[in-house]
Symmetry: C2
């Protein structure tokens, strides 16, 4: 279907540039348009993995917590201990509700002494934090500031971004960031992004300068073969970056979602959902997100979760995403697999648009 447009759904400051550069399909993410592919997804993948790709990810909204109680509140919200969160160093943070369910997996950036951003996936963390802080009476302002990320990803991303901002960006470590003004454009330059190809997220702090920033990066990237792109499902499955809402369901917790290592259950860290997560850990998992190696001809991506069963036909879980991997020349999937079928090497069957196919369970990230 065609994407209908209306004022309920917002556009990022980069949207027009991204469309003019060739984006042809889009989805909606945090009530904003997120362009996802050009007419040639294979070329999108190649630019990302071999050269450099420019992504309009303005839909990754920031939820800003600011005020005297900001650090204390964020520590309570986060399943990961943020007591050592430093200005200039981002952290990947599972957020859980009171029952231990994973409700978002943002990156936390402390941009100032008493200002923290959560750079969020597709759920209303703004509403959720306002509810928590309102009930607690914390002295904070919780807002969605005028901040729009633009991602530069790929092997030549560093050269491209250095050509824009200077060679200092080469020294920036992974997940480190610096808040600068460049040619009157206020931007947080962070070495991060939702691919494993290396690169930066440029958190633009003035939406009116979106096209100016886009043009600066585009011009710098041209000698490196820059191409418009978007978060790439094939690449992120090959390298396993969690997609909240795609790989997870309503009940997923961080352990099931394979990001349990970011949960700090020690006595010194109290947070929402901790009691529930302690109980879950004590009981052990009943299901787990695992990789699948799926046999047969290259698969088309699925538009809905599908079935997962044992060779004898009994239920074994749910296949969340599947895709053909250009790198491994192999169909890969991610599935919520019920214990005990989650052991690597287990043979299962996956429901595809062309019927059931044989598959083998694998650990994440894939080691092929």
């Amino acid at each position: 279907m065609q994407l209908a447009q209306g004022p309920r759904v917002r556009f990022s400051p980069f949207y027009r540039k991204s469309e003019a550069a060739g984006m042809q399909t889009a989805t909606i993410f945090n009530r904003m348009v997120l362009p996802v592919a050009t007419e040639d997804p294979k070329a999108d993948y190649e630019a990302l993995t071999q050269r450099v790709a420019l992504w309009d990810v303005g839909c990754e909204r920031q939820v800003q917590v600011q005020g005297p109680d900001a650090l204390k509140l964020c520590q309570y919200l986060s399943a990961r201990d943020l007591s050592q969160l430093k200005i200039g160093v981002a952290k990947y943070v599972p957020l859980c509700d009171h029952k231990g369910r994973l409700i978002n997996d943002p990156i936390a950036l402390r941009v100032d002494d008493d200002t923290i951003w959560f750079s969020i996936a597709d759920s209303d963390v703004l509403l959720w934090i306002r509810a928590i802080s309102g009930e607690r009476g914390d002295n904070v302002d919780v807002t969605e500031p005028d901040v729009s990320p633009l991602a530069v990803q790929g092997p030549s991303a560093t050269d491209t971004v250095a050509d824009v901002f200077g060679d200092w960006v080469r020294e920036l470590k992974f997940f480190h960031f610096r808040r600068i003004t460049h040619q009157d454009i206020p931007v947080v330059v962070c070495r991060s992004g939702w691919s494993k190809q290396g690169g930066f997220e440029l958190f633009l702090e003035d939406g009116s300068k979106g096209e100016q920033l886009w043009d600066l990066v585009w011009t710098a990237g041209e000698p490196h073969g820059i191409r418009v792109g978007a978060p790439n499902n094939a690449e992120r499955i090959e390298n396993f970056l969690l997609s909240w809402g795609a790989d997870t369901d309503e009940e997923s917790d961080p352990f099931e979602a394979a990001i349990g290592k970011y949960v700090d259950l020690g006595v010194e860290h109290d947070f929402i959902g901790k009691q529930a997560l302690l109980e879950k850990r004590a009981l052990g998992p009943t299901r787990e997100l695992k990789g699948l190696l799926i046999e047969g001809e290259p698969l088309e991506p699925n538009s809905e979760p599908t079935g997962l069963r044992n060779p004898n036909g009994t239920h074994a879980g749910q296949t969340r995403v599947m895709n053909h991997s250009p790198r491994f020349q192999q169909n890969l999937g991610l599935a919520i697999v019920e214990v005990p079928h989650n052991l690597p090497g287990t043979k299962l069957q996956v429901e595809t648009s062309e019927g059931w196919r044989q598959a083998t369970v694998a650990d994440l990230p894939f080691d092929l």
Copy 2:
């Protein structure tokens, strides 16, 4: 752009039927696909206003609050006094955050002694209520049940629905509902819907029976000229039904959004945001949602909010939606107008894709 599909975005149980019947454009609402128009929007409007239209509005999710504290909690969540909420009678309910901002405007249905559904607009009320109840320690379960509304709207909706379920539906008053099982299909039949043409919302309680329910209604509607449709922007502007997120912005409160009459500020009703709303009411509004009569040739619907200014060029607010009204043969708009430019009859100028146009402020609903 084309709408991209993937497992992060869900389909309703009616989606395939709705697509097969001719829906060609769609948006995303509560992380579900919402079909919005066929190739002939004029015929969509005519079927709704002259015959009967069938809408896949499965994306209007229910947030179910169930348990011993359900009523007490819902009363605290709702700006409208729900102490008299009876089984079988729905109420339209503004939900506000602790600062009095309107965060959703659901219909509340008490379906059982200790079970309330909020039938929501496009924001994560589920997360928000879980946060509130988790902090308060209420004894409730807050879930998204398997409930998918199918709307039957238009002058022949009653005849159609009576042909499906029986003549008792003719006696059902506006916003009254009954929970039944019909041909093994569990469904809540409610006289409601997001149009002023009359009709019903059928809250299907078993997603696996979506196509069966669709077919029953479709067959009954054929003698009445039933057509696939969707919430209709032209019709709902003519009759002013609020569209949360389209007509409102991040800061809108219920008074500004022209639904202040549903807020109960009396001493007997305590709720989230009450203190902030009392202060806002005491200060008086600084801006208001108003109608606009826009001059000139028929307008295309806008995809983004646009400017609103005084004839002398100074800022007067923001135009949220505009559309040509088939009924009034007149361009209509809804705008957040700053005081004192909000008085009916005030002459303003509206930014359109073809430049600025003259407009006149009008009260809502329009009285033409």
